[in-house]
């Protein structure tokens, strides 16, 4: 008789646990959030955290296509004027209504966040004036026609003038000012450790599935996986490729994957003209060549043909990538159709080298980071072996990102591995990586190989004033195809983004790598 009440208590306790578990979600992310101020530091983890608390005018779906957010529609009323119709009856967490004035305030704040190590000012710069037409209509005036404005607005989280007029980054980090219109409100924040969130029950969009969220940062890959297997967390992101094979067969977890927007590619030295030495290229005896073979398109093509991308994807990346010929994955706006990844052809590569005047090959050093991209150091080792097989004897030099990126920026290398996470628009990689370096235009800021092609520049410029999306897409495709024919960079693969959840949950895998609580739901009953 004594056992009964105890059993009852135990059962009830178990039930409560199940109930509580259904309401609570614990997530573990691999990269720390450095600020809750949505305009302080442009960084994917920060954007993911901001996305749970704040909203953008133009939202993006899991495949990074623009969808209505705080704006219901947008259109150009004049070539230089974009008009956004705003969503009515939206309120901030503190009850303030969302109106056009808040958009004007937000745009004005972007360039004025003190000490920002990487600001959102670039999205405000094309805008010369923000006009509040009525509380639910706002117009952006630009000096020239600017087709990328809606895309820019997918990067800007909207604040409230009344609430944030005097808020500093510290106020956001302390949670006091972390007040948005988003699906979750901040309960507490411990920098670099966790953010605790609770559901915003007055959210305008789809109601999130979980009432409370504990958003933890576990930077160590093995520990993150272990935390999931131990049942301490429900969702992890950045699943290490070394654990993939095991997790795919583990009954306790479900994986969600999507092809991302991050291309891993090789940059080549275009900084030295054809008649000069490239710093890490020598002949087979280690003597200077007296010329830069990388300026010869046949050599570049040979180096690309020598790479067995499928082998890299399958062996090094454990299948967590797709071979690529360009920056954007299939199904994305301005993806170049009918351009398959360069096929592996070692014999063809040797012939091309001979044709270019290097029948015996040459020596080169391939540099790359060892702590930045998934399996980065192992990828350059694989490429080094493949190049050596066609007679280009390759030394591999992997180093920490901190030292690597500084040297790559100075064009110190002859060949190097790097990655690029694109916005889903061809103009993004074109302007930043393939365009000729030009400070006044703000072009080629990440063009570390110093590739330059006047025709590519011309098309890129043309695309920037074309407001018709279909015509603009054709121009962008043409420009990217040109750069690809020219082997401006050697694309390797596009990474797959992978999340793991405990069985019974699903997460909508996002191409933009953001890990957000509102994307997690109980799996549909089978």
């Amino acid at each position: 008789m004594m056992m009964k009440p105890i059993m009852a208590v135990a059962a009830c306790f178990g039930l409560l646990c199940a109930e509580a578990r259904a309401q609570n979600l614990t997530m573990a992310v691999g990269a720390p959030v450095t600020s809750l101020d949505p305009h302080y530091h442009q960084l994917s983890p920060n954007n993911a955290a901001s996305d749970m608390i704040f909203d953008r005018l133009v939202d993006t779906d899991s495949r990074s296509r623009n969808i209505p957010g705080l704006a219901l529609s947008w259109t150009t009323v004049e070539p230089n004027v974009w008009e956004f119709k705003l969503r009515p009856n939206v309120r901030f967490h503190n009850g303030n209504p969302f109106v056009a004035e808040d958009v004007a305030f937000t745009i004005a704040r972007l360039p004025n966040v003190p000490n920002s190590p990487s600001s959102y000012a670039i999205y405000a710069r094309p805008i010369t004036a923000v006009e509040v037409v009525d509380p639910l209509t706002v117009r952006f005036r630009t000096t020239e026609p600017y087709p990328l404005l809606p895309l820019d607005m997918t990067n800007v989280r909207i604040l409230n003038r009344a609430t944030h007029e005097r808020s500093t980054t510290d106020d956001f980090n302390a949670g006091r000012a972390a007040i948005g219109t988003g699906p979750y409100r901040v309960v507490s924040h411990r920098m670099g450790d966790r953010i605790e969130l609770e559901r915003n029950d007055t959210y305008w969009g789809e109601r999130p599935a979980f009432g409370r969220v504990n958003y933890r940062m576990i930077t160590n890959d093995a520990s993150r996986t272990a935390a999931l297997l131990a049942g301490d967390v429900d969702v992890i992101d950045q699943v290490p490729t070394s654990d993939l094979a095991r997790l795919r067969t583990d009954q306790r977890v479900t994986l969600s994957e999507i092809v991302g927007l991050r291309l891993i590619f090789l940059g080549l030295d275009f900084a030295r003209p054809a008649g000069e030495n490239s710093p890490f290229v020598t002949d087979n005896n280690g003597q200077p060549l007296g010329r830069n073979p990388l300026q010869d398109v046949r050599v570049r093509r040979a180096l690309s043909m020598a790479i067995d991308r499928r082998a890299i994807v399958e062996r090094v990346m454990e299948g967590a990538a797709v071979p690529a010929s360009q920056f954007l994955p299939e199904g994305t706006y301005s993806h170049v159709p009918d351009m398959p990844p360069t096929a592996y052809d070692a014999d063809g590569a040797r012939r091309l080298l001979a044709e270019a005047g290097y029948p015996q090959g040459f020596r080169i050093t391939l540099a790359g980071p060892n702590d930045r991209y998934i399996n980065d150091a192992r990828i350059i080792q694989a490429v080094g072996q493949m190049w050596t097989r066609i007679g280009v004897r390759t030394t591999v030099e992997a180093q920490p990102w901190t030292t690597f990126v500084a040297r790559a920026g100075r064009a110190d290398f002859s060949a190097f591995l790097i990655g690029w996470g694109s916005n889903p628009d061809g103009s993004h990689p074109l302007r930043n990586i393939l365009a000729t370096v030009n400070r006044d235009r703000g072009w080629g800021a990440s063009n570390r190989g110093r590739y330059s092609n006047a025709r590519v520049d011309e098309l890129t410029l043309q695309s920037l004033s074309e407001l018709n999306d279909a015509r603009r897409e054709q121009i962008l495709i043409q420009a990217q195809r040109l750069a690809a024919d020219d082997v401006g960079v050697i694309p390797l693969h596009i990474q797959t983004n992978i999340w793991a959840t405990r069985r019974g949950l699903t997460i909508a895998a996002r191409a933009d790598e953001l890990t957000r609580a509102q994307d997690v739901r109980p799996a549909a009953a089978r």
Partner: protein, 324 residues
């Protein structure tokens, strides 16, 4: 005594100044923080703005002088990454690391001293040999691996302990501590054990060696001959004399645990200072690196001072200042 303390203080300031200079030069040699912090699609104009915003546009010597000037007023700069005063950031993480390090040190003393004493008193017993053999493992197994194994066994397989994180905390003296809550303690056990393994082995071996050496001393023989009980001989005559090397090493070890428990903290996602410094080095967050190392220098100097003071307490022959 006060002269002695003053001299130590001046020493500390000198070492801290040298340390800050080395870090400045070191970070400058590694790379440019802006390269790492800036969004990849930032253009040249935005880069220039960021360089100015972080004060990196000035020549290095001027940056250093600005830093020194602010440091004299107690301001060690703001973190490039978090935009918070570096010192505040470090102090915010300190309780987590302190309780981890203290937990590990207490474990080392509670477990290491008795085992070492036992092994020293009966050097040829089977148990003593076993203790010694196990202590070799404590020395030689890498912390990283042991930490992961602890997680795999006690969290994943057995499900007894939480795998990572700090758990619930309670406030004391205006700071958050996890040893005050049951959940927090459960989170503390594994990382503290992981840190303690090396220290336990160290204390065992030091104590054992000390005991074996002291047992042969004349005063111990005399005490025995005098007919004192074995317990009194062991705990008064032997124990007090072996404590000096143990206190020195435990003190220094405590310092290095607080300063460099990086591996354990990152394996167990423990939000302490060790994790902060490694993250800061990865993004070249210079103000945090400088402030951190200066804090650590200060801490080591303080610990050494305390160790020296303890000596004079334990061993009346040690004098803090030479007379004359």
């Amino acid at each position: 005594m006060s002269l002695y303390l003053l001299r130590r203080l001046i020493q500390a300031v000198g070492v801290m100044a040298v340390m800050s200079l080395i870090v400045f030069l070191g970070v400058f040699a590694i790379g440019d923080p802006v390269d790492i912090l800036i969004a990849p699609d930032a253009d040249q104009i935005e880069r220039e703005r960021a360089i100015i915003a972080l004060g990196l546009d000035k020549p290095l010597w001027m940056q250093y002088l600005v830093f020194l000037g602010n440091a004299l007023r107690g301001d060690l700069g703001r973190s490039f990454v978090f935009n918070e005063p570096a010192l505040q950031l470090i102090m915010g993480r300190m309780p987590a690391t302190l309780e981890l390090a203290l937990g590990a040190t207490i474990m080392a003393i509670i477990i290491g001293l008795p085992l070492g004493l036992y092994a020293g008193l009966r050097p040829n017993g089977a148990i003593s040999k076993a203790i010694l053999a196990i202590s070799i493992l404590g020395f030689s197994l890498p912390t990283f691996w042991v930490g992961l194994m602890l997680i795999m066994v006690f969290a994943v397989q057995l499900g007894w302990l939480p795998s990572t994180g700090r758990g619930e905390t309670a406030m004391l003296f205006g700071l958050r501590w996890s040893f005050l809550t049951q959940d927090g303690l459960a989170h503390l056990i594994m990382p503290a054990t992981n840190l303690a393994l090396f220290k336990i082995s160290l204390v065992i071996r030091l104590t054992r060696a000390g005991v074996r050496e002291t047992m042969l001393m004349d005063y111990v023989k005399f005490a025995r001959a005098k007919g004192l009980s074995p317990a009194r001989v062991t705990f008064v005559h032997v124990f007090k004399n072996i404590l000096i090397p143990v206190v020195t090493v435990v003190g220094l070890e405590l310092g290095s645990t607080i300063a460099f428990s990086v591996v354990t903290e990152s394996v167990f996602a423990w939000p302490g200072m060790g994790k902060l410094i490694i993250d800061s080095i990865n993004v070249l967050d210079r103000p945090v690196i400088v402030a951190y190392l200066m804090t650590i220098v200060l801490m080591f100097i303080t610990i050494n001072l305390i160790v020296d003071l303890t000596y004079s307490f334990l061993d009346p022959r040690v004098r803090l200042e030479s007379k004359g």
